[in-house]
């Protein structure tokens, strides 16, 4: 365990620069690093059973079941097995460390294909892919050694015609190694595409063991299907390009190609069922161990953490909920604090009591003030972001329609291209850029297809020019493909961090509900008008946003992927939570709300809620 913590030291040092408070580093270290380390330790502990199952499955033969078992036993106790097992442990620790290094609680949503390519070609991501590639190869080597048989070594002695012994290349070993590397690489790529590094929080709290048990069948299914697809793709690639690594290996290691009947990059060579099975089972094993590590990491990281609401010692004040809530970095601590707020407001009367309590001496409701202020600022931030987005969309359409005729043709498209600059530091880096160099109006005009009414049509007649135009257009089609915005992506990007807002809404509304009977000093009453108006303004902004095209279209859910697609539906969850939160307050207070000072417009809106007409 010490070694694991030592590994994460550089990370801590780097993030320490961003953080002001030394205490939050300690808290980060205590909570997050410890959780990451524990998840990696569990993943390593789970390695022996999964390896044993892999050995049995890979060596199983229907005709000789007894022999299989004895072989497995002798295999598991051999020196090479122990060595490869140690290697596998190293790989798991590395995977766990990469999970920890690359995880995010706010997904990065690519709004166009080009942004996605940008993500894939980011140096950080390239390093990730390379490391995964190497690790895939290591795991494949381990599985090759484990399977034994014809896969065991890279070279084997073969007799030439002149009787002189020399080393030949064992292509079966090579194909397994390359397969492992390919699967590792595609795992890393798919990780970006499916946002596999995104860690979502569950609404249903469960103990870690039960959650793990519940997710295990999904992991098995995902790894088996993903392995199947990856192996299929690998075989296609190997069929066309397999000779390159083969000749390269032969040259560098001075091996001969051997005189085997079928080279493996032929159809006959690849149609070997046993080879395909071993490729698939080793890919499944590889993905399974990695997915398990990822799953454990997610489960450990998102487990609820109970922060103290207030502390009697001043040195612990930085660990308290109101303080942690207001910290900007690291994001995961803020999220854990918000989750804890939502849970305590719902389930813990004792801790709610601490929130409503007054400071001693002084008699100020510091806890409630800090919590409500932070939640309200989060909500106001979202409102502002939504309004800004709506304004951008609206003004774009109008500004373009006022300009020249040729511009007007593209205005509808332009508004699709356009999306806001992220106003909050919470939003991800790859949200669309308004002032991206690629987004010049000239290019946009070029990107628009030639229309019948345009001066281009009819004047260009000669075949030579036509061909040039065609080439030109083909390039433009590619550009349109790359730059065209993915539908609803901007909407998803706007609500990428909405889990925080959902908790803020839940926390506030439950606390307000509880204050009806539990708040002895009336501390909540002072902020009730601002809470209500903040929620109503947000409600209006959200309603307006959902009237935009693509905003209310439901995304297609994929169940057979380890990538978490919760972020795709966060905006719906936010809308539902917001409505429920307002109803929770109106149902609790009923007609007493008439005594709360509100603007006439908000009062009218609130009346709708009181009459259950929203």
């Amino acid at each position: 365990m010490l070694r694991l913590l030592h590994l994460s030291a550089p990370l801590l040092a780097r993030s320490a620069l961003k953080r002001k408070s030394f205490m939050s580093i300690i808290l980060f270290f205590l909570v997050i690093c410890w959780r990451a380390a524990a998840s990696i330790a569990w993943a390593v502990l789970l390695l022996p059973p999964s390896t044993a199952i892999f050995v049995i499955l890979s060596k199983f033969s229907v005709l000789h079941p007894i022999q299989t078992i004895s072989e497995c036993f002798s295999m598991l106790t051999s020196a090479t097995a122990i060595f490869s097992f140690i290697l596998l442990c190293g790989v798991i620790i590395m995977v766990g460390f990469l999970n920890f290094e690359y995880y995010t609680v706010i997904p990065t949503i690519a709004c166009s294909k080009i942004a996605l390519f940008g993500q894939l070609l980011h140096p950080r991501q390239l390093v990730n892919s390379l490391v995964h590639c190497i690790m895939g190869m290591i795991v494949a080597w381990c599985s090759a050694v484990t399977i034994g048989f014809r896969y065991e070594t890279l070279g084997h002695p073969c007799a030439q015609t002149d009787g002189y012994h020399q080393m030949c290349l064992n292509e079966y070993h090579l194909i397994l190694l390359l397969g492992g590397a390919f699967v590792g690489f595609s795992h890393s790529l798919l990780g970006v595409i499916h946002n596999m590094n995104y860690v979502s929080f569950h609404t249903v709290q469960q103990y870690k063991y039960l959650r793990f048990k519940g997710c295990l069948p999904l992991v098995v299914k995902c790894s088996a299907t993903q392995a199947l697809y990856s192996v299929r793709n690998f075989i296609v690639v190997y069929y066309f390009l397999g000779y390159i690594p083969r000749t390269w290996i032969c040259k560098t290691l001075n091996l001969h190609l051997g005189s085997s009947a079928h080279p493996l990059d032929s159809i006959a060579g690849l149609l070997d069922l046993s080879l395909l099975y071993h490729l698939w089972i080793s890919a499944t094993f590889l993905l399974f161990t990695w997915y398990i590590t990822l799953l454990l990491f997610r489960i450990f990281l998102t487990e609820g953490y109970s922060f103290p609401v207030q502390s009697s010692f001043t040195e612990d004040a930085d660990h308290c909920l109101p303080k942690v809530l207001t910290e900007k970095q690291p994001m995961i601590l803020k999220f854990l604090a918000l989750q804890d707020l939502a849970l305590l407001s719902q389930h813990s009367p004792l801790r709610r009591c601490e929130v409503f309590s007054l400071s001693q001496p002084g008699g100020h409701p510091h806890n409630w003030n800090a919590i409500s202020k932070e939640c309200l600022s989060l909500l106001a931030d979202l409102t502002q972001r939504l309004v800004a987005y709506h304004d951008t969309v609206a003004t774009n359409g109008r500004a373009k329609s006022l300009s020249s005729g040729s511009e007007r043709k593209t205005s509808s498209e332009t508004s699709d291209f356009m999306s806001p600059r992220p106003t909050s530091p919470l939003t991800a880096p790859f949200t669309p850029d308004l002032d991206s160099p690629f987004m010049s109006p000239a290019l946009r005009r070029l990107a628009a297809p030639v229309e019948q009414g345009s001066p281009w049509y009819g004047t260009v007649q000669s075949p030579h020019i036509m061909r040039r135009v065609k080439n030109f257009l083909a390039k433009r089609v590619l550009i349109v493909y790359l730059f065209n915005k993915l539908p609803e992506a901007s909407s998803q990007a706007l609500f990428a961090d909405s889990q925080a807002h959902i908790w803020a809404l839940e926390g506030l509304s439950y606390l307000v509900q509880a204050s009806f009977s539990e708040d002895q000093f009336g501390v909540v009453q002072t902020t009730l008008p601002s809470i209500l108006s903040c929620m109503l303004v947000l409600q209006e902004a959200v309603d307006r946003h959902f009237k935009l095209p693509h905003a209310s279209s439901k995304p297609v859910r994929s169940t057979s992927s380890m990538g978490d697609s919760t972020y795709k539906t966060l905006r719906f969850a936010l809308r539902a939570t917001l409505k429920t939160a307002i109803y929770r307050i109106t149902t609790t207070f009923g007609d007493h709300l008439n005594a709360v000072q509100l603007s006439a417009e908000h009062r009218k809106r609130l009346q709708q809620f009181l009459e259950y007409k929203e």
Binding site: H202, T203, V204, Q205, Q206, Y207, L210, G214, S306, Q346, H347, S348, P349, L350, R351, E506, Y510, F516, K554, R557, T566, T569, L570, F572, A573, R575, A576, T577, K579, T580, Y583, R584, T587, T588, F589, G590, H592, E611, Y612, K613, E614
Partner: protein, 443 residues
């Protein structure tokens, strides 16, 4: 027109034995050792299969009947398959209700508006249960044969036929038919149950994601009831076992019954007491739950060790001026009013005897400081039961609302009580008001 479902499920092991009971071994030229050993293997197989049947009763259930029969069997509605009204739900906060009809449509009635929206969807078949989402004006969850639908019916809309786009389909492989659903009182989660699925689904409706909660034993899940304070969920199974889930960390307590499966159950408003009935028994049991302070991180509730019988509803004859009437028998469903002052019990009656029609018995109850249960009045021929104003749905499709005027014993809690507050005018003359049936003293 009044007719009863005559379907009686056979015990699992007898059915299994019937299937395996065909040892066709011809007498000619069969060595004795062969017949002996095959007999042994057959016996072993039968034993294993009976074991299988008792482990996974839901599989047996599925082999016995179609999903329609299954809904009829596990629905809270008496005689579901022929009843014109198949499901009924009051809105928890305002005066409107939804009725699911035999033709798979759902109508929403609101006394304040002239329009009655009719909800139809191609997936909405054999509706077993409907329920309104709490803390929301528009969402209505519908449990059907193949999936779960959540309708969003805009209360201000004048349209009488909301489009299918207003419904969200929630489905999970193997989770059908849905026979019971329950919203969390905070409106954030929805649980659904199917007798065919050993897992109970907890849905995050907005995100359309679900978490299956599964435990060994019992088979599927047939009936769900969420306690009004949100802390517990009752989940009964087709076998003699039910579970009480605690909703903070979603752990459960197993409650094996002695006789049959748990047929119905309801919670007191504060979630501290569960009343439930068991199939083939004419008694109401009670379980008390003490809510541990939630600051304790364990999250497990320390429950009682055994259920107590609080009411015995076995058949009793009363002589009235019109002649003797027989009241009592097996219980179909229970409903407790949101303030915990009246408990309605739907008694099945006996379909073969003409004078033994289904009856609703109403008890006057008190939850605190001590639990009290007193008989109040009874009414005949009801099929479906729903509290608020006590609403009774008849097999003919008629829905009767019986306004209960009673003086509330406690000071009504402001705003929190869900039912429309009724003017308390007079106490209804109760038949057996003086007769104390059950009083429990809490030390």
């Amino acid at each position: 027109m009044f007719c009863f479902s005559t379907y009686i499920p056979k015990p699992a092991h007898t059915v299994m034995r019937k299937h395996g009971d065909s040892p066709v071994i011809c007498d000619l030229a069969v060595p004795k050792w062969l017949s002996m050993s095959s007999g042994c293997i057959l016996a072993l197989l039968q034993w294993v299969s009976s074991f299988h049947g008792s482990l996974f009763p839901h599989l047996t259930v599925s082999s016995l009947c179609s999903s329609e029969d299954m809904i009829a069997e596990f629905s809270q509605v008496l005689n579901w398959s022929d009843c014109v009204v198949r499901a009924f739900a009051w809105h928890p906060h305002t005066d409107k209700f939804a009725v699911a009809l035999l033709d798979d449509s759902i109508k929403i009635y609101n006394p304040k508006s002239a329009t009655t929206p009719t909800l139809k969807h191609r997936l909405q078949r054999n509706v077993a249960v409907v329920q309104w989402k709490p803390l929301c004006a528009s969402a209505l969850a519908v449990g059907c044969q193949n999936c779960l639908l959540v309708w969003h019916v805009d209360p201000c809309s004048l349209s009488t036929r909301p489009s299918a786009g207003c419904a969200h389909v929630l489905s999970h492989p193997g989770h059908a038919p849905v026979t019971s659903i329950a919203w969390s009182p905070s409106g954030s989660l929805l649980v659904s149950a199917s007798p065919m699925d050993t897992a109970m689904m907890v849905w995050d409706v907005a995100a359309e994601s679900c978490v299956p909660l599964q435990r060994v034993g019992g088979g599927g899940v047939t009936f769900l009831s969420w306690s009004p304070d949100g802390s517990h969920v009752l989940a009964s199974t087709p076998s003699a076992l039910f579970r009480v889930w605690e909703t903070r960390m979603w752990t459960c307590e197993r409650w094996p019954c002695i006789k049959g499966r748990c047929q119905s159950g309801c919670w007191s408003p504060d979630g501290s007491r569960l009343l439930f009935t068991v199939q083939d028994e004419a008694v109401i049991y009670s379980l008390t739950f003490t809510n541990t302070p939630a600051a304790v991180p364990s999250g497990t509730s320390k429950g009682p060790h055994a259920a107590v019988v609080v009411a015995d509803l076995s058949e009793t004859t009363f002589s009235t001026p019109d002649g003797d009437i027989i009241v009592g028998g097996e219980i179909q469903s229970l409903a407790w009013d949101p303030r915990g002052e009246r408990l309605a019990v739907l008694l099945k009656g006996d379909p073969r005897a003409a004078d033994r029609s289904p009856i609703i018995a109403v008890f006057k109850t008190r939850v605190s400081p001590i639990f009290e249960l007193l008989p109040w009045f009874s009414r005949y021929l009801m099929l479906l039961l729903m509290f608020s104003l006590c609403s009774q749905c008849w097999s003919s499709g008629r829905i009767t609302h019986v306004p209960f005027y009673f003086l509330s014993a406690s000071i009504p809690r402001l705003g929190l009580s869900g039912s429309p507050t009724l003017p308390h005018v007079q106490e209804r003359p109760a038949d057996f008001a003086n007769q104390s049936l059950f009083t429990e003293f809490i030390s």
